[in-house]
Amino acid sequence: MSKPEFVYVTYIETTAEKLWTALTDGDFTARYWFGVRLRSDWKVGSIFEMVQGDGKVSDAGKVVEYDPPRRLAYTFVNLSEEYRDDLPALATFELEPHGNLVKLTLTHAGFAEGGKMLPAISQGWPAILSSLKSMLETGQPLEIPRAALKLEG
């Protein structure tokens, strides 16, 4: 396997079960992920979709691993014309409890050479993970306008 392009780590004061729900429940993801609702039946091999606030599916891929509350992996790629040269890349989430904290490691691998997903993703994940941490620890997600990240709405 090729080496991942990104490895992100954050420690969140929560339980692995709560973090798992926040990563997989669309009602939760909508609160910290710029309004994006993740949609899947979470069976390995099933379709995985990111549904925007207006109901449009922006990104899609497949569920690769679903092992609650330890390991979650899915592929996705943006479906718009702008990303036609991209391939579905693999995002893997690992949850490790350490006392009252959970270490969340996110690796993202398998981007198409010269594609547009890689730069877009590098702007997105740190903000999403910070907002997730803030939501689980304080009950309030961070409100980061999309424009600040230059992601398309």
Binding site: K3, V7, Y11, P126, S130, A148
Partner: protein, 104 residues
């Protein structure tokens, strides 16, 4: 958060982060290449950066790869930058980037 500031308060460590920002997932050998620092010094600086969570490592086969982890830096920004200022600041840094690019 103290550890993040301590880790960033050193030019050698910032230059290691710059190198990872330019190319993520490097081995110790890659990182030492072309640096005017001993291998021991690089190892020591990387340990401090890892402690502060600014660098994270994974094993791939026999290699240990180092990655820049920007999440703690993002959290520092979020702590003092109000949500309404963010858009403006992003626009300003984009303007600065564009202007500086033109000078190159």
């Amino acid at each position: 958060m103290d550890e993040v500031f301590k880790a960033l308060a050193d030019a050698s460590r910032r230059s290691l982060l710059d190198r990872l920002h330019a190319r993520n997932g490097q081995t110790l050998n890659d990182l030492c290449d072309g640096l005017a620092m001993t291998r021991q010094a690089v190892t020591k600086h990387l340990a401090i950066l890892e402690q502060a969570d600014l660098v994270t490592t994974i094993r791939q086969g026999r290699e240990k790869l180092h990655y820049l982890n920007p999440v703690p830096i993002h959290q520092i920004g979020e702590r003092w930058i109000k949500k309404f200022e963010r858009g403006k600041l992003a626009a300003l840094s984009e303007l600065k980037r564009q202007l500086e690019k033109r000078d190159e």
